[in-house]
């Protein structure tokens, strides 16, 4: 079968010569030859490799596109059209790059869902998971900047909407937005810096992917049972078993990607991406690319400003809750921490209320209506929730602290996860709708469930949830045993 890891001699003298000086072949044998993979890893485990393939496709097509593209507000749109019309196979490069972004996200979303379902973020893979979330964030930043480059109506207005979000932050907001734009409106400096960063970030992603794979090769892959491999019987060498299995999955994925690229290249894009940016004409409906829609919907779900009477009520509520905990909790250590938490919350609420009073008072000395001063504007809530929804994922290994990894043996978690997916899909749908009618309410409910799932249900289930018996080992899993009979 495969060469054992301890082999010191390669048959080929050239390979042997190189390896003695730079052990690339030893490394490749160890990491991709004999590297032990759980033999029950299913096709969902192929999506990491597929995502890496997509990253490479994006970098290669992107670098060639950059050779023909002009990052200037007066020429960007027509230079993209020149690529489409006059550059040899330019239309193919552009459609591959456009749809490649979507398929990169499809692969990564499936990859993340796999991790959530089979508990791949749990010990000992916490750092592997965190590095993955960093990749996801970098991808979002890169994709967003790439969306700007054709300088279409959707580009220009998308940038305007998303960068304006930063103005929600108190004190520094407006200065931050001006700094991001490189001016007082979205313009040529914005386009230039986004192009520079859009070119740079994919290589940063590649570096972080290297760390991701490094961490993976320390812990090894998780598997559908969530039980770590115990004996050699539980694993198979990566080559040829998973090289050929992942290879097959990759070709099928590429076939779907190519089918869309060649036969429905605009299925995932907006018509206003084909009209040049005009800062005087606001499009009827500004939407981000589909892969941002769930997060965009979370942003739009916050529509009510929090005013001073609410934060003051919250201050008193927090103090009352702290006092109640102090008087009733038997465990004194818990009581101490409850009081600390309550005082901190009350102090924070009181401080921001006071700060907004001072701001309002300074702005207009004759101001009287202090109870209705806006303390936390809806926009800021939305921005915090949108970023928070992803930041939350960094803490997932500790939010969900139970020993059992795979949702197979966690029936309650499985149902909650199914609901989370429904909520996420709902957000994806409502994110594309105009802010009126039932989608607004559906979006709010889904947003509520998203946070409920991570902040309440998961901590509870991981500690109190009833689990099914977990198999002794991968080989002892009935799914494996019945399949391999021969």
């Amino acid at each position: 079968m495969s060469r054992p890891a301890t082999t010191e001699k390669f048959d080929n003298p050239v390979v042997q010569w190189i390896d003695e000086r730079l052990p690339v072949f030893t490394m490749l044998t160890k990491e991709y030859g004999v590297f032990p993979m759980p033999k029950n890893a299913n096709y969902l485990w192929s999506f990491g490799g597929i995502a890496l393939t997509m990253l490479i496709i994006m970098i290669v097509s992107g670098v060639v596109l950059a050779m023909h593209y002009t990052p200037h507000e007066a020429y960007a749109f027509s230079s993209v059209e020149r690529i489409m019309r006059d550059v040899n196979y330019g239309w193919l490069l552009r459609y591959i790059h456009m749809n490649g972004a979507s398929f990169f996200f499809i692969a990564v979303y499936i990859h993340i869902c796999r991790g959530l379902y089979y508990g791949s973020y749990k010990a000992p893979r916490e750092i592997l998971w965190i590095v993955g979330v960093i990749i996801f964030l970098l991808m979002m930043a890169t994709a967003f900047m790439g969306y700007t480059l054709p300088w279409s109506q959707m580009s220009g207005w998308g940038v305007t909407v998303i960068t304006s979000l930063f103005s929600a932050f108190p004190l520094v907001g407006d200065a931050l937005v001006t700094w991001l734009w490189g001016g007082f409106s979205v313009g040529n400096p914005t386009l230039n810096r986004f192009f520079a960063l859009h070119f740079l970030l994919p290589f940063v992603i590649l570096g972080v992917v290297f760390i991701h794979v490094w961490a993976l090769h320390i812990t090894g892959s998780n598997n559908p049972t969530g039980v770590e491999p115990k004996t050699k019987k539980d694993t198979v060498p990566f080559h040829p078993y998973f090289s050929v299995k992942d290879g097959f999955a990759m070709v099928v994925f590429l076939a779907v990607f190519m089918a869309v690229t060649f036969f429905a290249p605009l299925a995932l894009s907006e018509y206003d991406h084909f009209n040049a940016y005009d800062f005087l004409v606001t499009p009827p409906h500004i939407v981000p690319e589909w892969y941002f829609l769930p997060f965009y919907a979370i942003l739009k779900s916050f529509t009510m400003d929090i005013t001073a009477w609410m934060t003051l009520l919250g201050t008193f509520g927090a103090l009352a809750a702290g006092g109640f905990a102090y008087l009733t909790l038997q465990n004194r250590k818990w009581a101490f921490w409850a009081v600390c938490g309550a005082v901190a919350a009350a102090g924070f609420l009181f401080f921001i209320t006071l700060a907004s009073f001072v701001t309002a008072g300074l702005k207009d000395p004759g101001f009287m209506d202090y109870m209705n001063v806006v303390v936390v504007p809806a926009k800021l809530q939305g921005v915090l929730a949108m970023f928070g929804s992803i930041i939350l994922l960094f803490f997932l290994p500790w939010i969900d602290g139970g020993d059992v990894k795979s949702a197979r043996y966690r029936p309650a978690y499985k149902r909650c996860l199914a609901l989370l997916l429904v909520a996420f899909l709902t957000l994806g749908y409502t994110g594309a709708q105009l802010p009126e009618g039932w989608p607004v309410i559906a979006g709010k409910i889904a947003t509520f469930y998203y946070f409920l799932h991570f902040l309440v249900l998961l901590p509870y289930l991981s500690r109190k949830g009833k689990n099914l018996p977990v198999p002794e080992s991968i080989s002892a899993d009935p799914c494996c045993a019945s399949k391999g009979k021969k």
């Binding site: 239309w91 559908p224 899909l425």
Partner: protein
């Protein structure tokens, strides 16, 4: 059990993508949905109808080009429509373009060459607006890709001029058209500044037949679809080869995978 659960985990993702791709785009505020038409260049194997493109080009040349440019196209691109090099050369030479500066530092006029871009009807956007009562006629190079519902919308717009109703169908307010404004069934908001551009018998085709409004609109829409996506046929032909290769490749990979995994238990 194992297979089912992994499939189940995948299903929502697929549903998500499908929902976004087919259900998501906004509706309201963007006018009436135009009726769906059958176009020869749609579908997996659809190709442009070259005769229709030539007729459509004639409609563009005789009618639309008075106000609308085709900035992204050159005369040489007309070879796609089946014109010969000599025909294109003659056609381009009908137009006079400004070139220069010459050795004396002066700009000069010369007949257009096949390598020149389509001559714009106005010198700049301001001139275009001044000549059209303040409205800017959009460039048509990307009009089919740049409008919701593409070809269906363009055809519906060209054939959708009506007498203004007494009250606005969406807002219910009384309709008061200003001079130079027209009522169109399919234009978002219904009121636009383009006079009905086509009518029955306005264009006489090369075979001596005079085109009806519907024929002229259909032909020019196909011409504009080509202008938006000139590489459509090459794209589909290449796609067929690529997909055929990938399907065969996938079959080989599947066979290899089965063989390799046969001894795992």
């Amino acid at each position: 059990m194992k297979k089912t659960s992994s499939l189940l985990a995948l299903a929502p993702v697929v549903a998500f993508v499908a929902a976004i791709a087919f259900g998501a785009p906004a509706q309201a505020a963007e006018g009436v949905t135009p009726p769906k038409q059958v176009w020869p260049h749609h579908g997996i194997t659809g190709t442009y109808d070259k005769a229709a493109l030539q007729r459509g080009f004639q409609v563009y040349k005789e009618v639309c080009s008075a106000c609308h440019g085709l900035n992204l196209l050159s005369y040489r691109n007309l070879a796609d429509l089946g014109y010969t090099d000599a025909q294109i050369k003659t056609l381009a030479a009908e137009y006079t373009v400004t070139d220069g500066p010459n050795e004396d530092g002066d700009m000069f006029e010369r007949p257009a060459l096949p390598s020149d871009r389509f001559k714009a009807p106005f010198a700049n956007a301001q001139a275009a607006k001044a000549a059209n009562g303040g409205a800017l006629p959009p460039d048509l190079s990307l009009i089919v890709k740049g409008r919701k519902h593409g070809e269906d919308y363009i055809y519906a717009l060209l054939t959708g001029y009506k007498d203004a109703p007494a009250t606005h169908p969406q807002t219910g307010e009384p309709v008061q058209l200003l001079p130079g404004q027209y009522w169109n069934e399919y234009f978002p908001g219904h009121t636009l500044s383009m006079a009905p551009p086509l009518m029955d018998g306005q264009v006489t085709y090369a075979d001596g037949r005079s085109a009806t409004l519907a024929e002229a609109a259909r032909d020019v829409t196909q011409f504009l679809a080509w202008a938006s996506e000139p590489h459509l046929e090459q794209r589909k032909q290449t796609g067929m080869k690529v997909l055929l290769f990938l399907i065969v490749f996938a079959g080989i990979m599947l066979a290899a995978k089965r063989k390799v995994w046969a001894d795992v238990h």
